[in-house]
Amino acid sequence: MTSHHRRHRRPGFGGEPLRFRFDGQDYEGLRGDTLASALLANGVRTVATSAALGRPRGIYASWTEEPNAIVQIEHPFPEPMLQATTVELYDGLVATGLTGRGRLSDRPDPARHDAVHAHCDVLVVGAGPAGLAAARAAAGSGARVILADDRPIAGGSLPDTAETVDGVPGAAWASAVAADLAGRPDVRVLSRTSVFGYYDDNYLVAVERRGEWGGQGRARERVWRIRAGRVVLATGAHERPIAFADNDRPGVMLAGAARAYANRYGVLPGRRAVVFTAGDSAYAAARDLASAGVEIAAIVDVRQAPGARWDGAEILSGHVVTGVGGDGAVSSVSVSDGREIQADLLLVSGGWNPVVHLFGQAGGELRYDEGIGSFVPRSARQALEVAGAARGVFSLSGCLEDGAAAGARAAEAAGFRAPPRHPAPRASDDGASDNGASDNGASDNGAPDADEPVAFWLVPSGDYRSHFVDLQRDVTVADVVRATGAGLRSVEHVKRYTTAGTAHDQGKLSGVLTSAIVAHAIGADIAQLGTTTFRAPYMPVSFATLAGRDRGALHDPVRVTSLHDWHVAHGALFENVGQWKRPWYYPRPGEDMEAAVLRECRAVRQSVGAMDASTLGKIDVQGPDAAEFLDRLYTNMMSTLKVGAIRYGVMCRADGMVFDDGTVIRLADDRFLVTTTTGNAAAVLDWMEEWLQTEWPSLRVYCTSVTEHWATVALAGPGSRDVLAGLAPGPAVDAASFPFMTWRDAEVAGIAARVCRISFSGELAYEINVNAWDGLALWEALHATGAVTPYGTETMHVLRAEKGYPIVGQDTDGTVTPADLGMDWVVSKKKAGFIGKRSFARSDTARPDRRHLVGLLPADPDFLLPEGAHLVESSTLPEPPVPTLGHVTSSYRSAALGRTFALALVSGGRERVGERLYVPLGGEPVPVTVTHHVLYDPEGARRDG
């Protein structure tokens, strides 16, 4: 289908026909079209329906500022709420117009997304005339330059116009400059790349649309994280709408946008047009549209004496458009002189708003410029320049010059010497423009800008209910006036009262207009009133794009030990402990968790089990003051530890609460190996470094993490001595020669090992440490004996709980002292001081009725209390709130005790041993008896085998 609205095909746009479907209708467009230009080319004027009022809406703008033409892409992948003006047409595209709300697809998104870091001396945002000139100047200095532009082709709005630079069409000049830049070794030109965030320390983020749907593994969109020495913002300007009756009808369009459709896309957005303007730039648009074949019926110019002249149409100066007629789309235009002019297109130009969004995000301050009736940059905090229309310079020659100067300044500020300036390009200046869709105010006759656009926002009326301010949110002048009438004085309040500026375009077109109308309504000065805050992102960015490749298995690192593959091969189920995967238990065929854990527990209590303990943190502490250092960190004494011996220790934070625990091994007079819990390995090393570096620099100590250097295997159970003896014929392993809490170097299964006699189960046990490369060999040698049962973290938890050993983080929660845990024995009374000691003396911390760690035995020995259940005094519950006495921290079924049991933190618990308490679980509270927290082998008879 050849469209009667298509005039020609622009060079450089290919011209390949593309089929697409919109609202169920098949159409054809051309490569290089946006969905909007293709729809206009097919004569489609009504594209969407307004959200609140259900009014028909057309295409109002030509790029990211579009408030109306919001569509849902249905194919190739459903994507909600895109602007038809920014969707590049592709073959097979299926889209529908929306009514204010999009629809998420429950199909998984097949596209890949990624991110990349980039660095440059100068980042230029916007490849319009100012941006190109800036990039060229900066690149000439030898600086590393990135030029990022959101359109498919360079030139900003040059392709929207008929202007020339150095005698060639602006678009051709722009692509030549961009190509030259792209060919230089230290310049990167990014097209289709929208810089959407400007953060502290010149960190900017951009999204590059790469037009792929997951093919070849290419990322569909890419986030650029750019750290720039200096930034040049050449972001152009947006044309400003005017509020008048029914200004939302399809057929009402920004003048610059209509000009873009005619010039860039070769599309006529209508047949007969009226122009409604407050400035000169619309005359250039009228001229271009006229030469493209649109009949210009009249130019309605609000100024009494317009600076621009054009004899192609009647000029109604000093008049305004009072409304439009038509059933849906525009068919006529009413003018204040009483005339009703037949037209299917009304071009509107209320002036230009510099695009200061990124500048605002960067913390820059704005000022109101009377000359252009808008806000422009005043002062910046970050290392940036603003060039061209973004700071209110609207003529093409002005933009070229301003851009070149800004580029040179930026390069110099980044430490490069800018080369002598290129001779300034000669611009045609017949209505020149910059990136975005900006335009100038130069008049046709070449006269200076004698008559700047006036600030004109609103056509006065007695009824403002169809004077739209924010088209997407259906906010009218009447709504704004109602807000100010309710007493509101701040534009932020009016925004919230009316929702103006909160839609998809985030008020790109409506923002300044709203401020102006509020100012008008309350008789305030718009300069004082200001704008609402500019926030990232400049344009909407999809969640998936921002998530990048940090998804699925790569969402967060999976940390594994050197034995991990063995665990997987042997059917282990895993527990996430921080980033680590730890074997939880090893079910045999037909076993559930309870059966597997009871079996593993029995194996350790009756024969021998082995657990991968490699995830425990390990820190090598060396230096003459190492013992003194550990004395200050741990609550107990470490300096008295003998070489060859091991001690359990607890660390507190300065507030006296338990922070971590583990064993300390004395390797030499001046060397210790400290173990930490799995979750706290990094935190404990940081903690040590913090105290050493910031408080005790005179201590001669060095700390080095060796967590992953060692594979650690816990070998536990009455049979462990025999297994070890069989594999390590060297040292004597009898209880006298190798006593509890000592360590030996030995060869185990031919592997150099450090063997520690420690136990976290109460059984005779060893911890065998070998170089992690040899971990699997050791593990397999142990299992090759046929005597060893592998066990996981669940069994480890049961065994230690039977012995009343607390787990930091499970039986503690940051509010528990060593004394609360019944560990007075681990708190040195002799040491002068250690971290946390002072806090024990605070009144609340010294209270006798603090929560103590105790054991619980349910009256029904088969009843397993849920971990997290609470305890109360009485079997009958009063009305809530019922004060809790504490909660169950650990609860298990014990093979060794032949019953269930639990550990709990209970208020004054040690004084309650023998008491009956109750656990309300809904229904009858469950009776339990408080016991000492050590339930199994309280005499410690089993640890020597």
């Binding site: 709420m81 709300r101 109602r482 921002l546 969402h555 605070r842």
Partner: protein, 404 residues
């Protein structure tokens, strides 16, 4: 879609401040406005000015994710948040303003065995406190919120969740404006663009505030300055154990309903609801460093999106429309400080960190009581400054890493 209630035709006037008030409230956010309202309504104290340095409710009240729940761990916290929730349930009628309190339940997800233990502990604690709380397994989570990915294959699978059915969301501007309008109607002066620049203390007693609009004498001064509490407190020589951090949030475009409840996950760092009009409202993490800049760092947003898609694959092609940041004042135990100060007739209400919005009616009620009676209401008595000396902290850290 205009089934959305309109704001009333009249909200409040902007009076010139008088030279003297019985009570001056510093900070015109949700807490300040609610305090003024309950001072007038419950205690008949109407010679009150609320001084706001910018626009009313333009601080954290305008920047939060509007989640309302009371399922806190410790009895002290549960007490004040549950009191707030009960007030929320009748607030629309009380204020005569459509605050759009939507009871839709909140799920707090558990992703590790440790999460499960802590969650179950909280459920049981809540029940003893008369707070509705349930523990749900993954399949039940899916019933409440079908779009949550409960498959065991994800990096941190959903092992279950606590569920508080009475929890929900409200429209924050409507809440603030409802309080403002009702307070103004009872004679409270709401003064915008009136930054407090000094607090006059003589003889250990507060006398007046210096403001951008001149000196204003006050019988009592009540601070409600949220992220700026340290700055304002310092004007009276009161040092507070607070650190101010940026906290970000973001919103998507309007989408057809997919998300019926509120989902929070500490471990994966997500909290999200779909607001009344259809936008996804999502909170991000807190920036680690002190800052009064009302914006945070971008990598936190990227991380947030990664986490969100782990739990909600359906969000993949939703778009971030706007991000913003508030400044939250965080106390050492992640619990608030509400009560008297060493300066006579000077009161503080601060340290709400990330949890201030949901407490609004409750804290307004209790703080007004504290001001009116010169001593704390029983519900805010545990949240004294002295607890940092005695060690009787109300440590919600574990539960409140991302508590909103």
């Amino acid at each position: 879609m205009r089934d959305f209630p309109e704001h009333p035709d009249w909200l409040w006037s902007s009076p010139q401040p008088k030279r003297s008030y019985d009570v001056v409230i510093v900070g015109g956010g949700g807490h300040g406005l609610a305090t003024a309202y309950y001072l007038a309504k419950n205690h008949g104290i109407t010679d009150v000015a609320v001084l706001e340095r910018g626009w009313l409710a333009g601080g954290n009240m305008a920047r939060n994710t509007t989640i309302i729940r009371s399922n806190y761990l410790w009895d002290e916290s549960a007490g004040i948040y549950e009191h707030a929730l009960k007030l929320w349930e009748g607030l629309e009628e009380d204020l005569g303003y459509p605050i759009l309190f939507s009871r839709r339940g909140v799920l707090n997800l558990a992703h590790s065995l440790q999460d499960v233990r802590e969650s179950v502990r909280r459920v049981h604690a809540n029940r003893l406190n008369g707070i509705d709380a349930e523990w749900l397994g993954p399949e039940e989570v899916k019933e409440v919120c079908p779009i949550v990915n409960v498959s065991p294959g994800v990096r941190y699978p959903v092992l279950g969740a606590t569920y508080q059915p009475r929890a929900g969301i409200a429209k924050h501007d409507y809440v603030a404006w409802g309080y403002a309008r009702a307070a103004a109607a009872m004679g409270v002066h709401l003064v915008e663009n009136c930054e407090v620049t000094g607090i006059e203390v003589t003889g250990g007693r507060v006398r007046a505030v210096e403001t951008a609009q001149g000196r204003i004498a006050a019988g009592t001064v009540a601070l409600c300055a949220a992220g700026h509490s340290s700055v304002v407190g310092a004007m009276a020589g009161v040092k507070l154990p607070l650190q101010s951090h940026p906290l970000q949030a973001l919103v998507s475009e309007l989408l057809e309903p997919v998300h019926p409840t509120v989902v929070m996950s500490n471990a994966v760092h997500v909290y999200v609801s779909q607001a009344h009009k259809g936008e996804l409202v999502m909170g991000a993490g807190i920036d680690a460093y002190n800052s009064y800049r009302q914006r945070g760092a971008f990598h936190i947003i990227e991380r947030q999106m990664s986490a969100a898609l782990e739990l909600f694959p359906i969000f993949a092609r939703a778009h971030v429309l706007r991000t913003w940041g508030g400044v939250v004042d965080v106390s050492p135990d992640a619990s608030p400080i509400v009560g008297p100060t060493p300066v006579e007739n000077l009161y503080v209400n601060c340290g709400w960190g990330t949890g201030g919005f949901k407490a609004t009616p409750g804290v307004g009620w209790c703080y007004a009581h504290t001001i009116a009676h010169g001593e704390p209401h029983p519900l805010n008595a545990p949240f004294s400054l002295e607890r940092f000396t005695t060690g009787a902290l109300v440590d919600e850290h574990g539960a409140a890493a991302v508590a909103h």
